[in-house]
Amino acid sequence: MKEIKHPMDFYLRMDRIPHIWCPGCGIGLVASAFVAAMEKAKLDEEKVSVVSGIGCTGRFAGYIKLDSFHTTHGRAIPFATGLKLANPELKVVVVSGDGDLVSIGGNHLIHAARRNIDMTVVCVNNFIYAMTGGQVAPTTPLTAYTTTSPYGNFEPPSNIPQIVEAAGAVYVARWTALHIRRLTNSIYEALNKPGFSFVEVISPCAQYYSRINRLGDGLDMMKFYHENSVIKHGESTDNLHIDYQKEIIVGKFVDRERPTYIESYKKWLGK
């Protein structure tokens, strides 16, 4: 009997399946969207490198059958910067979590956007540090419970699209793990966009975030996204704060042109 392969298998390390992600987790959906976007983009897959940091989404690189790097906590972006500058032919994609990219790696996120380094960053935001057992993150909505905010979080969370736009990103979008088709399209657009492109994906953590807050399982989170996300393309990123269990504005917010780092570097070299 002939073995039938799923078309996505081409981009996945099937020898590593089953993956480590919990039932109800949204990272697998992001992986499908990424793979679908890769297929649509028709890039030379030999020239694509995926870099991840540490955490649940940090494991992303390990399941993608491209040159893939699982690096240190928060440092996927500088590692990808080195790859890209040393070989500008490469297409570099960073896929990592909110704690990794915005907290410990926040400085690198800002400066890569400022330099407009050619790379696509996909940030899976599940509002929590999940790998270590559900600690409060810089993205945890106010009043939400986590293992380290047992009386509710009182730290105002980061508005990630606002940060990256202010820093200089040329493409900024946000979707939830429910918006798989739109997310795929955004990743596709981001992959084709010269410069620093950024896609945030609000994603359920059924194991920690929704359980401690009694929000149900992964499916309940998806229902919540379905009922509470509002598509507002072109919305000012100033208005993208996420409040606890309130509406989530999604869409494409920024799509602009700026000289990329490598273009500017070549100009400086006179080439």
């Binding site: 500088p78 590692f79 080195g82 040393a86």
Partner: protein, 386 residues
């Protein structure tokens, strides 16, 4: 091939400071990626390198901190470039995270540290050798490291080249432990012809694209490498991993992976360690020196030999791996080791370890102002004669 770019090797006789000589060494060694964060006293290298970048198609990027600096260097190395960074103590502290990743991913790269007084900010414009132990043990977990200690602008050139070659040969980060004095000291540097410069290429996997296993090592325990973008679609991780590069976190794999990383250097200690011996053969007293202070130690030998004292200088060119064997042999023959250091006793402890109680060991703490003054060592030698 980078090696044949004539602009990369400025054959001839030059007057350069240690920083400039280091940059020339890096360019001559084929280094085409420098990432750094401004810190005194490492700027000389950055300045020279960026001025020369246009000539040789090299890339320089000033990152946002020293953490991202070494991360970018590792990325560049995996994209196929010979890559380096330069820093000083506070920066080296921030680099320890990625020194560990570099060791774990077996990534060739060079880190040049211009040691200044510490801890913390210390004295930025004073030489020191306070980072010797950090270079060896600074990152967490078990690993072995290679570190060179140049003592002149000429060696800032030549040992930077050696550092690149060792790092490619053993697939490991290599340190050059210089200091503030050498960074600024202007001296004659002779740059040989390109054809006379040793170039150890990276061990490159050339098999079928679906047959590459990133950590399937050879007899020398060093696995061949490929670059990103060549179509091998490999995975690597800083987690304990198997030969496919996939995370496997158990005791067996830890042994297979990390113990091998240690053994690949330990097995080669005799081929890596380099010492220079000045009149050691008949010596009763051996000064054990390294870096800038070895110049002073040689002056001492010259001076006291005239007075008939049997004193020699054993100079460590590589401080890591430590030349245990040579020091143990010597400890049986001589009466006294004198260990002068620009710290409060770091290599001194290593000498104690290798001495097995055989010889007497005198430690001399050297202050910056005395760096080129032989007297503190001469005084100890005179005391010993009493």
């Amino acid at each position: 091939m980078v090696k044949t770019n004539p602009k990369a090797v400025l054959t001839g006789t030059h007057k350069l400071n240690g920083g400039q000589a280091c940059a020339e060494g890096a360019l001559a060694a084929g280094c085409r990626f420098l990432s750094a964060y401004p810190i005194s006293p490492s700027i000389g290298v950055i300045k020279r390198y960026t001025e020369r970048a246009k000539d040789v198609d090299a890339v320089f990027i000033q990152m946002e901190d020293e953490i991202s600096v070494l991360s970018a260097v590792l990325g560049a190395s995996w994209a196929g470039k010979r890559a380096m960074t330069v820093t000083s103590g506070p920066g080296l502290s921030l680099m320890m995270e990625h020194l560990g990743l570099g060791v774990m991913l077996e990534t060739p790269c060079v880190i040049v540290d211009f040691q200044r007084r510490g801890p913390s900010e210390g004295i930025p414009n004073a030489p020191s050798s306070g980072d010797i132990m950090q270079a060896r043990w600074g990152s967490h977990g078990d690993y072995e490291i290679i570190a060179f200690c140049p003592n002149s602008a000429q060696e800032m050139f030549s040992l930077t080249i050696d550092a690149f070659n060792m790092s490619e040969k053993y697939r490991t980060p290599v340190l050059v432990l210089s200091d503030e004095f050498l960074a600024k000291k202007v001296e004659q540097v002779i740059i040989p012809k390109a054809s006379e410069i040793e170039f150890i290429p990276r061990k490159h996997f050339t098999g079928a694209k679906n047959k590459y296993l990133p950590f399937d090592f050879d007899k020398d325990l060093v696995p061949p490498m490929v670059n990103a973008g060549e179509g091998y679609k490999f995975h690597i991780t800083g987690l304990t991993h198997d030969k496919r590069g996939y995370p496997v976190m158990n005791e067996q794999t830890q042994e297979w992976n990390v113990h091998r990383l240690v053994r690949k250097i330990r097995n080669e200690v005799d081929n890596i360690t380099k010492v220079e011996e000045n009149q050691i053969a008949d010596a009763d007293i051996a000064i054990l020196s390294y870096g800038s202070l070895s110049r002073t130690a040689n002056k001492v030998v010259e001076k006291v030999r005239k007075e008939g004292k049997k004193v020699g200088n054993l100079r460590l060119i590589t401080v890591w791996p430590f030349p245990d064997k040579r020091i143990r042999e010597l400890s049986k023959k001589i009466k006294t080791f004198i260990v002068p250091e620009m710290n409060y006793g770091q290599v001194y402890l290593e000498v104690q370890r290798c001495n097995y109680g055989n010889a007497e060991i005198k430690f001399i703490e050297y202050k910056n102002k005395d760096l080129q003054n032989p007297e503190p060592i001469v005084d100890v030698i005179k005391d010993l004669a009493k």
